[in-house]
Amino acid sequence: MTKAQIIEKVAEQIPTLTKRQVEIVVNTMFNSIRDSLHKGDKTEIRGFGSFRLRSRRMKEGRNPKTGTTVSVPAKKVPFFKAGKELKELLNKT
């Protein structure tokens, strides 16, 4: 399911909001998660999961085309950990 489809579905369920408003809501939601990590904070959503940054050390990489060694600098990567409720939901029989 894509973001556009999510907006469509949610707009159907909330007739008091226009599709444009729902679009802003959905964008705001994901943007605020993104911004929180950008600021070095984390986001914990009960029942769904948490988003935080993980650090990656600098490493030696290789240019696959030329074979020359290049160093890949240390960086942060966004990481999502599914919450208990979501994990259980996926494994309900």
Binding site: T2, I6, V10, V22, F30, R46, V77, F80, L86, K87
Partner: protein, 91 residues
């Protein structure tokens, strides 16, 4: 940041009450969960993709006692952040 903070941002951006904002957040999260439960992926442009992967049975060990235990097959959610998201957090 927590769910209430997200609802608050929505309250400030869209002309809805705090209660409505909180309800919409809940609605969206429930939709995402039900999509993932069906085994379907969720793709958010500029943010990333949530995918469901199936894991087979394997043997594990209790790290404290060293006792071997079986790990049952299960489904897990993985998140792959988009290029935009990855770049943004390193700026």
């Amino acid at each position: 940041m927590r769910k209430a903070d997200i609802a608050n941002e929505i309250f400030e951006k869209v002309g809805v009450s705090k209660k409505e904002a909180a309800d919409i957040v809940e609605l969206i999260l429930n939709l995402l969960k039900s999509v993932l439960q069906k085994g379907e992926s969720v793709k958010i442009a500029g943010f990333g993709n949530f995918m469901v992967r199936s894991k087979g049975a394997r043997k594990g060990r209790n790290p404290r006692t060293g006792q071997e235990i079986g790990i049952t097959p299960r489904r897990v959610v993985t998140f792959r952040p988009s290029q935009v998201f990855k770049k943004y957090v390193n700026q």
